[in-house]
Assembly symmetry: C3
Homo-oligomer: 260 residues x 3
Amino acid sequence: MHHPKAASREGVAQVAADILARLRAGSPRIHCIINSVAQNFTANVLLAAGCVPSMTLSAEEIGAFVVGAQGLLVNLGTFDRERRRATEIAVVTATQHKLPWVLDPVFVDRAPSRAVFARELIGRKPMVVRLNRGEFYALAGNAPSQDAAITYARANRTIVGLSGEVDLITDGERVATVANGHPLMTKVTAMGCAGSAIVAACLVVEPDAFRATTAALIILGVAGELAAEKSAGPGSFATAIIDAFHSLDGQLLAARAKVG
Amino acid sequence: MHHPKAASREGVAQVAADILARLRAGSPRIHCIINSVAQNFTANVLLAAGCVPSMTLSAEEIGAFVVGAQGLLVNLGTFDRERRRATEIAVVTATQHKLPWVLDPVFVDRAPSRAVFARELIGRKPMVVRLNRGEFYALAGNAPSQDAAITYARANRTIVGLSGEVDLITDGERVATVANGHPLMTKVTAMGCAGSAIVAACLVVEPDAFRATTAALIILGVAGELAAEKSAGPGSFATAIIDAFHSLDGQLLAARAKVG
Amino acid sequence: MHHPKAASREGVAQVAADILARLRAGSPRIHCIINSVAQNFTANVLLAAGCVPSMTLSAEEIGAFVVGAQGLLVNLGTFDRERRRATEIAVVTATQHKLPWVLDPVFVDRAPSRAVFARELIGRKPMVVRLNRGEFYALAGNAPSQDAAITYARANRTIVGLSGEVDLITDGERVATVANGHPLMTKVTAMGCAGSAIVAACLVVEPDAFRATTAALIILGVAGELAAEKSAGPGSFATAIIDAFHSLDGQLLAARAKVG
């Protein structure tokens, strides 16, 4: 039914290194709709990676902020009527101005109303949906196999970035896997949100969204591995991964990328 | 008037170690209604201790989140009409589903409307009220002596967990003191909130709420002592205490517990 | 047109050291209206510097909190109708109770509605406006030169604290420059907000607002330099600067102050 196109490990790793270099050079402005738990960490991750974050959620000004940004992250985190209105404005504005946007359907497996809203948003064509396995199941109604992810990406004309011990990225045709990362990443809140923000940033500097998403998840995973080497637990790990986003260079990234 | 029942130091310390082991094994899901200042730190403390935190405050979905959780923390932090409505839904849901819940009446000594709301909530029978001395005074109308705490616990059929240089825990009959901790704990925001979250987590794995609260305050205090040994100030302390919650084991906990 | 009054480097540095000592001794209570991205970091910076922060934004209780505080920071961060109402109440209360207050017009260069609101607030006579160069331009309509800052301060009867590689402080008559700081300060979110909070704290303990603002920016810059010496990137820097606020003493401050 589908024919995933293979790419050489070296090729993918080198593309990721190039995208990282463009991230450093371009300082993309990323607007984030994100829950308050994750705001500070995500802003610091974006700054460390060389980006300029903004985070306002006010319906009265979010349009202006999105117009002034180059990429948008919509993270469902806490949401209510006002947050939904802000999301509505942000997505319409991003679409009009042809900004890439990423949907991170956090915790859709915990509240039915959130899953309903996430499905509506997927109909609005996010360039990428980044989510974990439980969230995929809640959204797609299928276990998160490679086939299910490919089918979902194709049906919704989006890229799926599925996090797990091995990440899976697919645009419905191509498939990549990223085996970088560290177990401590699951012990720090907002790590996934920060990863989604890096996806949004890579989309700004790389027009091929499949490659951009793959690069972002390699950057996240390698930063996690470097941080783990300098950590005594999840507290120092959360600090060290921000340092790692800042010091990471393309050569190290390419050398450590575990892509398939 | 009252006859606090003494328990051996070794007995209490061993119970705390057992409760910690059950926390690690059980990974309880704790929903937190908590101000935005404290959300990230509290989420990371819960993750480090082996729990699964959630933090949404939206009235439209908080019921579903509480149903999916095993314990609830209601921290007054910032509150307004919407927050009060979310609290209302969360407390009703927790009561219906027999989830243990903890009230942390933050800063009730600073705003009268907050004290009024806290008193209403205490009428809804939280399993534990964890607070500091100033908050106790504002709430109970008495100086925070041992007798006043016992009387208050008895009158309100709750456990009082009173933080201070020496913590005092009472269910109106039994009394325990915990002398663990470190002065740097007062120099990091949300330390008390994180402690209350650990109380909520211990209530999930230990049916005797007096023992659970005592264990939680020992865990918090010992983590603080371990963190202080590795800190150069309150910034590195906040990081180190998260590492300490992650690495703490029952043997170390039992050895360092200063209970009376 | 204007005659900036020079002050000796030693004199200014010694005043800053005295103000720091009074900050430690006085533990001023500072209420902050600040976006959720910056709340935790700012609260921890204030605690480390010896202050007592509060952060509620609820219109129903902010008046009581401001009455109980000694200084107020109004940071525009995210704002909407409710936030504006809270700001209104807080500013009226601060004015009635003669509390010093600081305006930090974050990101006024990104949304026109925010700039309009900031201009309204400046008409309410904040004691100090602390902002960066882009924000000054958006607010004053002029490039941020020394002359423009002096003119703006005089016209609005306020102190301007203009951040940059070299900070500029003026009350419309006197001018000071502070050349302390480190590039990593631009790589951590909320660093400017935390600086503005320190300005508010210094205003509580020093009646000469020009001197208080200069001292606060020296404290911020020296803390940044000390932190950079112990950091491997922006993550560890954010932690180390909190340690530095805590350990900083007047002698070190006076020795390192680069004032002009």
